[in-house]
Symmetry: C2
Subunit: 335 residues, 2 copies
Amino acid sequence: MATIYQVSELAGVSLATVSRVMNNNVRVSEATRNKVLQAMEQLGYRPNSIAQSLASSRSNSIGILVSELHGPFYGEMLTGIEAEFRAAGKHVIIAAGHSERATEEDGIEFLLSRNCDALILHVEAVSDQYLIELNKKQTPFVLLNRQIAALADRCISLDNELGGYLATRYLLEQGHRHIAYIAGPMWKTDARDRFHGHQRALAGYQLTAEQALFFEGDFRETGGSKGLQALLASGRPFSAVVCANDEMASGALTAARELGYEVPADFSVMGFDNVNFAYYTYPKLSTIDYPVSAMGQMAARWVLKQVYQQSSIEVQQVFNPQLIPRDSVAEAAIT
Amino acid sequence: MATIYQVSELAGVSLATVSRVMNNNVRVSEATRNKVLQAMEQLGYRPNSIAQSLASSRSNSIGILVSELHGPFYGEMLTGIEAEFRAAGKHVIIAAGHSERATEEDGIEFLLSRNCDALILHVEAVSDQYLIELNKKQTPFVLLNRQIAALADRCISLDNELGGYLATRYLLEQGHRHIAYIAGPMWKTDARDRFHGHQRALAGYQLTAEQALFFEGDFRETGGSKGLQALLASGRPFSAVVCANDEMASGALTAARELGYEVPADFSVMGFDNVNFAYYTYPKLSTIDYPVSAMGQMAARWVLKQVYQQSSIEVQQVFNPQLIPRDSVAEAAIT
DNA sequence: TAGTATTATGTAAGCGCTTTCATTTATAGC
DNA sequence: GCTATAAATGAAAGCGCTTACATAATACTA
């Protein structure tokens, strides 16, 4: 592999000049620039990014920590992030945190040790305090899907409360009055926020959430099916159930079918996230759209702007969910 | 951030010694090793991976190129890869190729310019020739889901032909004799191989694929629904349709329902890949399992073995698909 | 046209490590 | 106790770039 030195020799200029044309910031005369460019071409020169990093103390790499690499949700997120960075010539180092505190902290350590210029974190288990401490260190980071007051300028999140509100309001508008709720793990902020939105929507109709119609699931398919069974077993009547994410909604759908119920004839089901498979379920899942790819992209832009000084970039920090009506919700039968 | 120099000072030894204890290969006396370790501890020293890379001309990073970052398939693959490398302290740089020649080549260039120690490629559009050329360059690579004779030792792939065979044989065993086929884009090797397997299974029963019962899809959902419509429109009777992947099978399922058919009562549907949502469809999709996560992991191991000399590692290059019977296939009605 | 401000280029000192080779120190053999 | 050998450590030369700072070339001013 050719080095900058060989290029400089061939072009008959100094190292510094070659470096300058690469980073075309300082003025180099057209004539020498061309000479250099030609020499590079001729040698098939490609700068050594490692050496560049060491000399400039910029690695041009951004560390990404997500809970999982698979699953419909994170894939979308990564797509948004990668596209944005690749266009900017930066690269992305990825690690998985598996929603466990130790693994997440470990992942952050790992990325830090890789000299990332910035981090994009989708962490769930790590404490606010830990992140606040992390913020005192050199490496800047953005938080996806998390709100911490002390770190507000570093948070990119969805208004989960609004999403929860929209889901339930839609059901109410369809005439439903007995609405069951299958929540996510309540230690997760997004799970809590979604539920609060649900409560607010209910309150708008002078209703409150019934204890018997509440089930705390795990954001997984099995949680949804178990939840539905529990709800049914409670004996309390309901005409609709809102699930705090699509996986659980899908589980609920399957369980309903297996137990001989028909959705939405017997009761309606509402999901959350609008994950790609929501479209494949039967009936197609009515849900709340989580613009996860756009949010990933925005996190990337935040980094471009704050860390790489691309000041012209606009960053949006709070995103709004949107109702996606499909086939799993129907009007409530007249009671 | 503390540097190796400060550690050496604090420990009262030379740079070289510190370096040695880090890479604990050369013998260092217990006493000094402890002194150094303690000094590191005290300073919170973390080696600068960039400097290490430059000095050792090892970046400890592996470039991964997949078609997409989202979608059920690649996510699994990445999970397998990442887990394996992280445990080995290597990191992964990811790029998307979008199944387009230019973007794929571009992605490879990009990863190469990042000084990756090795590449793991899941490329579809790039030519064999290009890869053979690439093989002459420094950076070693493994190919996932591709078979090139000249590069056989670098290929990790599924026996797609066998998969196609298994799918159709299963249908035949269930009594089906008129079997339609919705293929992937036939310029893709895996699409062709799967179809060949289909033909072989048919041949085992003295049957041949009928032209009228063949449709070339695009591996997407829409391809499946269009395909089913076309097959139905052909007027040729069939009692089962095998789809070259799960997405298309899902499309076919949806189309069937919309057209008033019931699966598997009216005809059976077979998928391929056993992608996560295959379980969420209705009816649950009978399919062929593609052990994609295991294959990703194996690609990572190949790299560990060949590039990082972890010679004890065993590598398996060809994987076998497996039949996953679920609900979308039933026995053929007696004709 | 000398004097000054600009612009273009070169020189050389790092960036934080690894690694070869030389040197010192310990261990063993007789 | 003295040499022969092995083990532990140190000195220093890079790895391929970036970037002050210095210098040379050119343009502009009065």
